[in-house]
Subunit: 206 residues, 4 copies
DNA sequence: AATGAATGAGAATTCATTCAT
DNA sequence: TATGAATGAATTCTCATTCAT
């Protein structure tokens, strides 16, 4: 029997596919190119995936899963709101810098017809409820002022995180960030975002 | 004598192209479909534009131009920070609901190879400097607390606006918004965003 | 406007396609080969036909239409049974020699999944009822003996004609015929088939 | 010790292959499917056969061999022409109903490039000479009228049998038969064919 | 000797772009 | 100048065949 693709090779395919999809979008991405760069034949990709769309979906799942895992880790274990914020923001930056193609994939969802984004939506739902829950609790604890709607503000906060992801993971947004803050170092971004978010939610200066 | 395409016809092409690009993305969008819907021939589109990319670029320019015009109008004329915020937020929602394809175009920039986004970047630069200037001024006037970096916070604020655009203009983000706030009415969104932004920037409750 | 395909070119496509389909069967037949041999581009074939199957169907229709036309002409206008037989047999031989690919197409129907053969079946139904009617009439007129079932015998007769088509139109059957009668001239075949059929149906020698 | 494929397994392969080829035609038939259904690996099929074509050829050989055996049995041992006819016709119907895929294989010969049909032709040659001999003898015995050419008429008779095979073994021809005689029972077909053939050859009613 | 996963040539189909009218 | 049919390069996907185990 011809040796089955090693786990490493399978990972290669996934990794290269994410790069290709991230770079060119799901349409322009060429399966043959993914195969070439993974060092496998076109055929074997079609053994593992029904078609290009299924490969794309799997890349998406993988990207989002990893991303949400990282973000979840940041939420769990920390009890102060401030600590949670900081960990989320740092996780966001670190992940996006290390896994830019993953973020690009994530960003690509929007242009994708229904099927693919269902999964993404499932994860978003999780994030949404987590953030909302955290804010609701914080509001009850008096850490957040009472005139805010926890759901809506959770979204605003997530919006900020999402754009932070894009700003570190996608070329366009990275250049856009440069317009605003030149080559400010990341630590400064973290600090400012902390101030911004805390001010927004508490209505108080630190 | 055969006459040139009327201005109206040219506008038609642009408008239909934006719809098509917004709906199907730059790859899947079909020039022949744009021609059909504009009531002109494919050939004439290639008289006006070198190729599909150039047409896409032009659509992009147009979208962003209109968008930035609307956003600029919101900024100018108002002197209080609060008033400016409110006008920006309202402009954002109104425009995105009325011109979803424009927003989708804008969102598509990220996946676009260099050429196309230069123009977008030029506009962003304008926005960036405007917002930064406004915040800097507000800080000097004591309307914004001193520990914030006007540039970075202008970006955060613009991030919030950008995501608001997407949330009203792009399917994926619209559904995402629903996860956070169900079918909250727009007025409530405006109010909450005002609270959020003001708290963030002033460190004070209204 | 680039010149539309002339009728001649369209006929070319049909003719070459019938050859290709007849030679290689619907599966192996290559659209690119048909295009090359017709002197047109692949794309234009897909302008005129949705896909290879539709082209095949059209070839089939065309083949069978022409064939049934020729066979119909032979039936009509002649009143004696004998005369009708002779004309049918001669038409059969002439057509198959001149339009071998058409016969090969016809033969290919059997291997074709449903869609394509519906049309063929419609024509067969016509032939079946025509032959049956002729035999029934002949039986009433006493030209055919009473113990025969007109329907079944019409089929036997049509079977003989069909095999005659194949024997002249398809390589395999042509070689098979040679096994039986070497290079007997066609006139002799006609005469013998007349004797055979008349004997079968009348139970009398001429 | 690894053992060679048992005879039973080899027969399985042949049987399943005939089914697959009969069902889908030589092109669409998938070697992997044949392997799966035979309970062997793809590789082993290629140990026994150079390629798909060779497997197809072997199936063809096998089909035709079995068919011709059955038909031969019908000819031998019977002395009256009438008895021979009846046995042939009955054998034809029985075999085709029981071994439809074999008949479909047989029918597929025509679309097959040279190599495959050589063997079929060898068998046909045998049949041709047998039938011709029988008819010649019958003619000398005065059972068949003198104005018939035994070779040509043997072919006509074989044509009738061949079409009978197809009518019972191949979908298209089965439906075609229904157009002519609805759901006439087989016994009636046998009787009519006897009348038809005898009339044809003897020029007399029974 | 048997396995069955990997290979990669080949075929159908699409659609941006051209250019004769 | 506008037209829109023709072009053909490019891409996805299949499956006969190979060959390491």
């Amino acid at each position: 029997m011809l040796k089955k693709l090693t786990q490493e090779q399978q990972d290669q395919i996934l990794e290269r596919a994410i790069e290709e999809f991230g770079k060119n979008g799901p349409e322009r991405a060429a399966v043959s190119e993914i195969a070439r760069r993974s060092g496998v034949s076109v055929g074997v990709i079609y053994k593992y995936y029904q078609n290009k769309e299924e490969l794309f979906d799997h890349c998406l799942e993988h990207s989002i899963e990893l991303l949400s895992e990282v973000m979840n880790d940041a939420v769990s274990g920390e009890t102060t709101l401030e600590g949670t914020f900081e960990k989320l923001i740092r996780a966001c930056i670190t992940f996006s810098k290390e896994h830019a193609p993953y973020i690009q994939m994530y960003h690509a969802i929007t242009h994708t017809r229904d099927g693919a984004r269902r999964y993404a939506q499932a994860i978003e739902a999780l994030t949404a409820s987590t953030y909302t829950r955290v804010l609701k609790q914080a509001q009850q604890d008096g850490q957040i002022r009472g005139d805010l709607d926890p759901g809506i503000c959770a979204m605003f906060f997530d919006n900020l995180l999402m754009m932070l992801h894009f700003s570190y993971g996608c070329d366009y947004y990275r250049e856009r960030m440069a317009l605003y803050c030149g080559n400010t170092d990341d630590e400064q971004i973290v600090r400012q975002m902390m101030l911004f978010a805390k001010g927004a939610l508490t209505g108080k200066r630190p």
